[in-house]
C-alpha cells in the first residue's frame, strides 16, 4: 500500500501544483462534513485538503455577487455578508457544522430554503476548477444573467469530487429578509400534506415548509416588518391552526444577533434546530436523501421503515434515517416512484449501496468522467457501482 499524503494548498497556483506534482489517485476533502456520504472513497494515494483555500476574493454589494475560494466555510461567508444585509439563500443543516462552499456544491446539498431558492446549482454563477491533469478552467462569471459557454458549475454540482476540484466560486446573493417567522402545526404527515396543499395553493409564498417526524409541520414566512404580521394572520386563518414560533424582533436588533450565523439561528429556533438534527442522521442508522414528486412523497415515506424523517412537502425532497438493511429496498422504492436517492451517513463498516439504479444517461456520465479524468484519479469509489 502506498503512503497516503495530505496536500493542503492555499491558492489556485498551489492547488494546481498539488494536483500536478502528485501521482496516482486523489481524494478531495473539505471540512469533512460529508466525508461519508455517497460511495465510500477507495484507498487513495493522496488527500487534497481544500480547507486552506479560504477567503472572499471580491464582494460587490451593489451587484449582490461574491467570489470566494471554495474551501471557505459557508458559515464564515454568511458572517461576512450579514453587515451588508445580504446572505446566500441557502441553509443546509451542515452549514452550521462548518461545511465549505465547495463541498456543498460537490455534494448537491440543500436545506429548507430550496423551496424558493433551489440548491447551490441555482446560486453559483461562476467557477474555477482544476482537473486531474492540472488544467485550470473557468466558466460563468460575475453576472447573474449569462449564457456564454457551458455551465461547468452544474457539472461539478453533485459530482462528489470525481470530476475536478472546485478552486473558486462566484455566488449570487439575496437581501436578508427584514423579518422571519415560523408557523408550527402539530400533525401527522398526511395532515401536513393537506395543509401544504392549502399553503401552496394560496397566495402565502412560504419561504420554507418542512414536516418533521416528531409530528410538526414548519412553515417559514419571510418579508417586511410592516407586512409580515398580516400575512401570518391570513395564513393561520386559512389553515385554522398553527402556533407562531419565534417571531423575530425588529431588524436592527435582529441583524446584530444574526451575525451569530445559522448555527445560532438554529439554536434560537428550536424547531428548525430539531429539523437540522434529524437531517444529520443518527448513530446506528443509515441516512438517505430522497426526492420524488411532492404529491408522491407521503406514500413513498409510508412504505419505508423510517426512524426519523424530514420531508419537504413543496420540494419533494426528504431526508430519512432507517436501518442499514433497508437501504437497498429504499433505493428501489424511490426509483419505482420516479425519484432519486443517495446514501448519506451509515454506521461504520456497514456496506450498503450508495446509489440506486443508474440513470438512463449513465453512458454520458461515464464519457464525461473519461474526458475530464481519463485516468480515474479523482474520488475513486464515490460512484460505485455507476462508474
Amino acid at each position: 500500500m502506498s503512503t497516503r499524503t495530505t496536500l493542503r494548498p492555499t491558492d489556485l497556483r498551489s492547488l494546481r501544483d498539488a494536483v500536478l506534482d502528485t501521482a496516482g489517485t486523489i481524494g478531495i476533502a473539505g471540512a469533512g462534513t460529508a466525508a461519508g456520504w455517497a460511495g465510500t472513497l477507495a484507498q487513495v494515494d493522496a488527500v487534497l485538503d481544500t480547507t486552506g483555500l479560504t477567503g472572499v476574493i471580491t464582494h460587490n454589494p451593489g451587484d449582490m455577487t461574491v467570489s470566494l475560494r471554495a474551501g471557505t466555510p459557508l458559515r464564515q461567508l454568511q458572517e461576512e455578508l450579514a453587515p451588508h444585509g445580504q446572505h446566500l439563500s441557502f441553509d443546509a443543516a451542515r452549514v452550521a457544522d462548518g461545511a465549505t462552499v465547495g463541498g456543498l456544491i460537490a455534494t448537491a446539498d440543500a436545506g429548507p430554503a430550496a423551496l424558493v431558492f433551489g440548491s447551490m446549482r441555482d446560486l453559483v454563477i461562476g467557477v474555477t476548477i482544476v482537473l486531474a491533469d492540472g488544467t485550470v478552467a473557468r466558466s460563468g462569471g460575475h453576472v447573474i444573467k449569462n449564457v456564454a459557454g457551458y455551465d461547468l458549475a452544474k457539472l461539478l454540482h453533485g459530482s462528489y469530487g470525481t470530476l475536478g476540484v472546485l478552486a473558486e466560486v462566484v455566488l449570487r446573493l439575496h437581501p436578508m429578509p427584514k423579518r422571519t417567522a415560523t408557523l408550527a402545526i402539530h400533525c401527522s404527515l398526511g395532515e401536513a400534506a393537506e395543509h401544504a396543499a392549502t399553503v401552496l395553493g394560496g397566495p402565502y409564498e412560504p419561504a420554507a415548509m418542512e414536516w418533521i417526524s416528531d409530528g410538526t409541520l414548519l412553515i417559514r414566512i419571510e418579508g417586511t416588518e410592516e407586512a409580515l404580521d398580516a400575512r401570518l394572520q391570513r395564513l393561520r386563518t386559512a389553515l385554522g391552526t398553527g402556533e407562531l414560533l419565534d417571531p423575530e424582533p425588529p431588524s436592527d436588533e435582529r441583524r446584530v444577533r444574526r451575525i451569530g450565523t445559522d448555527e445560532s439561528a438554529a439554536r434560537r429556533n428550536e424547531a428548525w434546530g430539531r429539523h437540522a438534527s434529524l437531517v444529520r442522521g443518527a448513530p446506528g442508522l443509515a441516512t438517505m436523501r430522497i426526492g420524488v414528486r411532492p404529491s408522491r412523497l407521503p406514500d413513498v415515506l409510508a412504505d419505508l421503515p423510517t426512524e426519523t424523517v424530514t420531508a419537504g412537502l413543496g420540494t419533494g425532497v426528504a431526508t430519512v434515517s432507517l436501518p442499514p438493511d433497508a437501504v437497498e429496498a429504499t433505493h428501489a422504492r424511490v426509483h419505482a416512484a420516479g425519484g432519486t436517492s443517495v446514501l448519506r451517513s451509515r454506521p461504520p463498516q456497514v456496506d450498503v449501496p450508495a446509489w440506486g439504479p443508474p440513470p438512463s444517461a449513465i453512458a454520458v456520465l461515464r464519457a464525461v468522467k473519461a474526458e475530464l479524468d481519463p485516468q480515474g484519479r479523482f474520488g475513486p469509489g464515490r460512484f460505485d457501482d455507476w462508474m
Binding site: 440543500a110 488544467t135 459557454g149 397566495p203
Partner: protein, 484 residues
C-alpha cells in the same frame, strides 16, 4: 456535397418521404434563424412528428456521419440554428403538445415546439404560470428556451430557464433517448440537465421537457417612471436593490428606444425624455403595497419627472407592450439594425452606456438602448442603413460593444446565446484552457462532432470565414493559404 440516395432513403424510412424536404426552394425557408446575416441552405429538412422519429433521424445522422441542427421557431438571434451546408435541419415544429399540467405538483410536461406563452396559457386555469418570459415569448419555443437558457424581464427575481427545468428527455447525438434531471430539484450525480440547458443545441436534441410552474402572484404592481438622465435612472435601480427589494422586473429604455416604442404601440411613454424605467413588483398584496411605496419614494428622490402607475391590468399590459415591442419598433426609426446582447455588473450600467454612446459617435451610428436593468443585461440596438453602406461599420460596433461588456466584468451574452454570431468573441471572455475543457464536455456528449457544429465554441473555419456566400478567408487574402 449532396446527401446521396442511400442517406436520403434512410431518412425517408425513419420518418416518411413527405416529411423529408429536399427541394432547395423549400429548404431555403430554413437557411437562417432570427439572425439573418448568416445564411446556409441545408441539404435536407426533416419534419419528425414525435420523439421516436427525432431519435430515428438522429440515428441515421450518426450512422452516416451527417451533421444536424435542431430548430424550433427560428426566433434565435445568435445564429444558433444556422444550418450547416452538408447537413440536415431537424425541425421540432410538429412536437407541440402540452402533455401534462399537474396543478398539485405545479409542473408541466411539454414537447419542445410548444411556445413559452402556451405553457403559461395551459397553466393559467390552475392559477399557475411559467416564470421565464423572453420578450419573444409569444413565438419562441420552450425547446429553444432550453437550448439558450433564455431569460426575460422577470428573471431577476425568478431565475432563468435552467432554474425552472426539472428534467429533459434528450436524444443524444448517437440517437439514444435519455432523461437528464429528475422529478425534483434533487439529483443523483453530476447535474447533466444543468449542462444541457444553455448548451445551444450542441449536446443533443430535447424532445420532452418538465418545467416547474409557479403560483400566479396575488398582486402585481407596475410603474413607468421618467428621469432626466440615464445616471438618475441607474441610481434608482441601485437604491431599490440597496433597500432589499427584489423587483419582479426593472427595465430601462433610453430616448431612442422610447421614441421607437411609442411610435409603434402608443403605450403612453414620454417621447424625448432621456430615460424611462419600468418597475414591477409582485407577491402577496401586503408586501407589494409596502415595497411599492418605497419604490415610488426612491423614484421621487432621484428627480423623477413623471410617474405613471398602471391602474388596471390593461394599462399594465400596455406598458409592457411598449417595452416588448421596442426591438421591432426600432425598425420604424432606422432601415436596419443589429440587436446586441451583453451583460455588465449592474453597478457599471452608467459607465457602459456612456462608453457605448461614445463608441456610437465615433462610428457615426446611433445606438438605442433597451435593457434589463435589474440584472445588467443590455440590448444595444445599433442602427444603420445597409443601403448607405453602413453594414460592416455597424457589425463591427455591435461586436465591440459585446466585448466591452466582457472588459467591464460581464458576459458576451445574457440570453441570446453565442451561436454562430459570437463564437469568435469567446476567446475575449475565456482562455484557451477554459474553451478546451468546454470542448471536452462537448466531446463526451458528441464524440463525432455532428450535433450543431460550429456553434458556441470558436473553430478556425468559423472565425476565419463567414458561412454563406463565398468570401475570401483573411488568410487567403494575405496569401498564406489558397483554396483548391
Amino acid at each position: 456535397m449532396s446527401l446521396d440516395g442511400v442517406v436520403r432513403r434512410a431518412f425517408e424510412t425513419a420518418l416518411s418521404p413527405e416529411d423529408v424536404i429536399s427541394d432547395p426552394v423549400r429548404c431555403r425557408s430554413y437557411e437562417c434563424d432570427g439572425l439573418t446575416g448568416y445564411r446556409v441552405i441545408p441539404q435536407l429538412v426533416l419534419l419528425p412528428r414525435d420523439a421516436a422519429q427525432v431519435a430515428a433521424a438522429v440515428r441515421v445522422c450518426h450512422e452516416h456521419g451527417v451533421p444536424f441542427v435542431a430548430r424550433g421557431a427560428g426566433t434565435g438571434l445568435s445564429g444558433g440554428a444556422l444550418p450547416v451546408a452538408d447537413g440536415v435541419v431537424i425541425s421540432l415544429a410538429r412536437l407541440k403538445r402540452v402533455l401534462e399540467v399537474d396543478p398539485v405538483d405545479r409542473r408541466a410536461v411539454v414537447e419542445p415546439g410548444v411556445t413559452n406563452l402556451e405553457i403559461t396559457a395551459a397553466a393559467a386555469p390552475h392559477g399557475l404560470y411559467y416564470a421565464p418570459d423572453p420578450s419573444s415569448q409569444q413565438v419562441c419555443t420552450i425547446g429553444g428556451n432550453v437550448a439558450e437558457n433564455s431569460g426575460g424581464a422577470h428573471c431577476l427575481k425568478y431565475g432563468f430557464t435552467t432554474n425552472h427545468v426539472l428534467s429533459c428527455e434528450v436524444v443524444l447525438p448517437d440517437g439514444d433517448r435519455v432523461t437528464l434531471g429528475s422529478d425534483t430539484g434533487e439529483q443523483a450525480g453530476p447535474d447533466l440537465r444543468g449542462v444541457f440547458v444553455g448548451s445551444e443545441g450542441t449536446l443533443g436534441i430535447t424532445t420532452k421537457i418538465t418545467v416547474r410552474l409557479l403560483r400566479t402572484p396575488e398582486t402585481v404592481r407596475t410603474l413607468l417612471a421618467d428621469f432626466p438622465s440615464i445616471a438618475a435612472a441607474g441610481e434608482v435601480v441601485s437604491d431599490i436593490v440597496a433597500a432589499g427589494i427584489v423587483p419582479a422586473a426593472v427595465e430601462m429604455m433610453d430616448t431612442l428606444a422610447i421614441e421607437a416604442a411609442e411610435e409603434a404601440v402608443h403605450a403612453g411613454y414620454t417621447v424625448g425624455v432621456p430615460a424611462a424605467l419600468v418597475v414591477e413588483l409582485d407577491g402577496p398584496t401586503e408586501e407589494c403595497d409596502v415595497q411599492f411605496e418605497q419604490v415610488k419614494q426612491i423614484c421621487d428622490r432621484h428627480g423623477c419627472t413623471r410617474l405613471h402607475i398602471a391602474g388596471s391590468p390593461e394599462e399594465r399590459a400596455k406598458i409592457w407592450k411598449g417595452r416588448k415591442a421596442a426591438f421591432a419598433a426600432v425598425g420604424r426609426i432606422s432601415p436596419d439594425y443589429f440587436v446586441q446582447d451583453g451583460v455588465v455588473p449592474r453597478t457599471r450600467l452608467a459607465e457602459v452606456l456612456d462608453r457605448i454612446a461614445g463608441m456610437g459617435t465615433d462610428a457615426g451610428l446611433r445606438v438605442a438602448n433597451v435593457f434589463h436593468a435589474g440584472d445588467g443585461n443590455l440590448h444595444p440596438l445599433v442602427l444603420y442603413s445597409a443601403a448607405a453602406g453602413e453594414t460592416e461599420r455597424a457589425e463591427k460596433l455591435s461586436g465591440e460593444i459585446a466585448e466591452l461588456c466582457v472588459e467591464l466584468g460581464g458576459s458576451l451574452s445574457g440570453e441570446h446565446g453565442i451561436g454562430t454570431d459570437k463564437a469568435c468573441s469567446m476567446p475575449k471572455m475565456f482562455g484557451a484552457d477554459d474553451l478546451a475543457v468546454m470542448a471536452r464536455v462537448r466531446t463526451a456528449f458528441d464524440p463525432r462532432g455532428l450535433c450543431n457544429p460550429g456553434k458556441v465554441l470558436p473553430t478556425p473555419r468559423l472565425c476565419g470565414e463567414r458561412p454563406g456566400k463565398y468570401r475570401p478567408h483573411p488568410l487567403e487574402e494575405a496569401g498564406v493559404i489558397e483554396r483548391l
